[in-house]
């Protein structure tokens, strides 16, 4: 009995978050509009990406500006596996034969979309997690630019600035919801595992953690690879949601929106990552409606959506640096949560020097 209770206590947060997403999706589908279904599918994909981002940023405390590169790599990986062979033979002559002539099933493509970014993440992370936190952030920024310029110029495998077409569009709101659930569970089990706890210890006090025998580089690298895989999976879903792929979306704009989601929700809890995606999606959609003038007398000029999001993020940082979630996890019962650490208020409030 005690064991069941403790299992419920351990698993309540991810289950509640998955149920919350299902409720949002269910309510939205009541409207029955196609535009709403598209918005929800995109939101679920962003849950996968932001939860992936959270696995590294939230647990290690190091900001990454480069994870959208993994999304790009994952999206192209899925496109290489599933686009029509006739298109690939004409436009993507640089691909190996096993990709060029075959068309693989959806789940195989998703697995590839997670594995390829994880391999790249292992190679990159092995180098940059050795740097200090800030230098590491800058290196991820450089990685974003490298991936962008390589994928935009490597014509024989990415079709360069023209697009890859004919990717089967299999991802709708509920398929994306299933993957969002997978990402949430993966992030949760990592977070309460020994490795996750060690990484969180290095985030809250690197010196004390290292003095207790934690290998800083190894702890960061593990989270980096897992988060690269999850973000890559989000990219693969995105490719099979759009059906057409270019390099352009995987750059500063998407980097900003996903980071804003994480900051608005609260960087240091999984609940924050999920709530941030829901909250920012709602705000962006509202601002878009105002821009289109479909909200009555007030019409905002184009561009207010981006400006509004930027100002919202700055306000959250100033007024509530721990985000909407306050760094806490969503739970119904059991105040103390033995498996996961308390909100890092101390780390947030520590002076800069």
């Amino acid at each position: 009995m005690d064991r069941i209770l403790s299992n419920i206590r351990t698993l309540q947060t991810p289950v509640l978050l998955i149920v919350l997403l299902a409720i949002v999706s269910g309510l939205a589908s009541l409207t029955g509009s196609d535009a709403m279904a598209t918005t929800i599918a995109e939101m679920m994909i962003r849950v996968v990406v932001v939860v992936g981002l959270y696995v590294f940023i939230g647990n290690s405390g190091i900001i990454s500006f480069g994870h959208i590169s993994f999304m790009c790599i994952g999206a192209y990986a899925a496109a290489w596996m599933t686009a029509a062979p006739t298109f690939k033979q004409i436009m993507l002559g640089g691909l190996p034969a096993w990709l060029q002539t075959e068309q693989y099933p959806f789940l195989v493509a998703m697995a590839f979309a997670a594995v390829l970014p994880a391999i790249v993440g292992l190679a990159l992370g092995g180098a940059i997690t050795r740097l200090g936190g800030i230098a590491c952030s800058i290196a991820t920024f450089a990685f974003l630019m490298i991936t962008n310029s390589v994928y935009a110029n490597w014509d024989s495998v990415t079709a360069g600035v023209s697009s890859i077409i004919g990717i089967p569009t299999l991802v709708g709101p509920w398929v994306a919801w299933v993957f969002a659930g997978v990402a949430i569970l993966a992030a949760w089990f990592y977070q309460i595992s020994r490795h996750g706890l060690m990484l969180r210890a290095t985030r809250d006090d690197p010196v004390a953690a290292q003095a207790s025998g934690i290998n800083l580089v190894k702890a960061r690298l593990g989270a980096f690879v897992l988060s690269a895989a999850l973000v890559g999976l989000g990219g693969g879903l995105y490719a099979q949601f759009l059906g057409i792929l270019t390099v352009d979306p995987f750059y500063l704009g998407l980097t900003f929106i996903t980071l804003a989601m994480l900051v608005v929700g609260g960087m240091s809890s999984l609940t924050g990552a999920v709530i941030g995606v829901i909250g920012v999606t709602i705000i962006v959609e509202l601002l878009r409606m105002f821009e289109r003038g479909s909200m009555g007398p007030i019409t905002l000029p184009p561009g207010s959506q981006e400006l509004g999001l930027g100002i919202l993020m700055a306000l959250i940082l100033v007024l509530r640096p721990t985000g909407l979630s306050g760094g806490r996890e969503l739970k119904l019962f059991g105040r103390s949560r033995p498996a996961a650490p308390a909100a890092p208020e101390a780390a947030q409030a520590a002076p800069a020097e």
């Binding site: 800030i134 800058i138 110029n153 010196v207 000029p301 561009g303 993020m313 940082l317």
Partner: protein, 304 residues
């Protein structure tokens, strides 16, 4: 040989731009522990301030048509005011925040400025001709050097000498160095924190304005993300040089300029589009062997 010397002059002038940008970033990092991702956007604003604000495709000169004696101070003033405004609205309320929080805040500021430019000037890149005469070449023996590169190198040296004189000889310069060494101690000894930080923002604004004008003269076009690559190379320069060290920022800037120019000159033509990827790969290799940078600062390791 002539070819190599010409590449070297290219490297010097490109490295000069990176070094000036890196100085502006390094100055704020030393005092505030702020990596100002919005610095590149100050450079864009310096360039956009030259033209009449409108979404038209063709750019009409506004401040850009002024006499140079009015042009330089007005552009510098605009950028300084913007830099001070970002401090006042975004960074001052976050004085006690952690470095990652500050970095995200500056990313938000950068996003706001970029989209502000988009709203006012439109999204299409614009052609602009500032000081066209500076693009002519001067002949020295077999060597042909664009006048603009000479100007860039001279301006870089002048600003660096000016900054180092300011930091070593004037009262506020000394206060600024004290604040970079130990901010809290400097405050106890009577240094006015916000005032010194304001001066640092103003100087980084002047440096951004200089880089913006030199860069737009050379490139002849405006786009709302034009400052981003410059700033990114400068961030990397700051890391390579050694975070928190101003000489390091300058050395890092010139080193990156050298690497990029030489890759551009000597890579096989079909690999040239991947120049930046090679440059960053070299940087990561350097950092694996010297994680503290080429000229490490003394006070970066936190005391516990």
């Amino acid at each position: 040989m002539i070819g190599f010397i010409q590449n070297l002059i290219d490297a010097l002038s490109l490295g000069g731009l990176y070094a000036l940008t890196a100085l502006g970033i390094g100055l704020l990092f030393g005092i505030l522990r702020l990596i100002n991702l919005a610095h590149g956007d100050l450079i864009s604003v310096a360039a956009y301030a030259l033209i009449v604000p409108s979404v038209d495709v063709t750019a009409r000169m506004f401040i850009g048509d002024f006499n140079i004696l009015f042009l330089l101070p007005s552009i510098a003033l605009i950028v300084i005011l913007l830099a001070l405004a970002t401090d006042l609205m975004a960074f001052r309320p976050l004085r006690k925040a952690t470095t990652p929080t500050l970095m995200i805040a500056s990313f938000a500021v950068s996003y706001i400025i970029q989209n502000g430019i988009l709203m006012i000037y439109g999204s299409r890149p614009k052609a602009i001709n500032l000081w066209g005469a500076a693009n002519q070449q001067i002949q020295v023996g077999d060597l042909r050097v664009p006048l603009l590169q000479v100007i860039t190198v001279v301006v870089t040296i002048a600003l660096m000498v000016g900054l180092s004189l300011f930091l070593s000889k004037t009262r506020y310069g000394v206060q600024m160095r004290a604040a970079a060494e130990d901010f809290r101690m400097a405050q106890y000894l009577g240094v006015k924190g916000n005032f010194v930080i304001g001066i640092a923002f103003a100087i980084s604004g002047i440096l951004a304005a200089a880089v913006g004008l030199l860069y737009v003269t050379q490139s002849g076009s405006l786009s709302h993300t034009m400052g981003v690559p410059l700033a990114l190379f400068a961030f990397v320069a700051v890391v390579v040089g050694g975070m928190g060290s101003l000489p390091g920022a300058v050395v890092g800037g010139f080193a990156i300029g050298f690497v990029v120019t030489m890759l551009q000159a000597y890579l096989p033509p079909d690999l040239r589009v991947f120049r930046d990827a090679f440059a960053f790969a070299i940087v990561i290799l350097v950092l694996l062997f010297r994680p503290q940078g080429l000229i490490p600062a003394r006070n970066v390791i936190e005391r516990v």
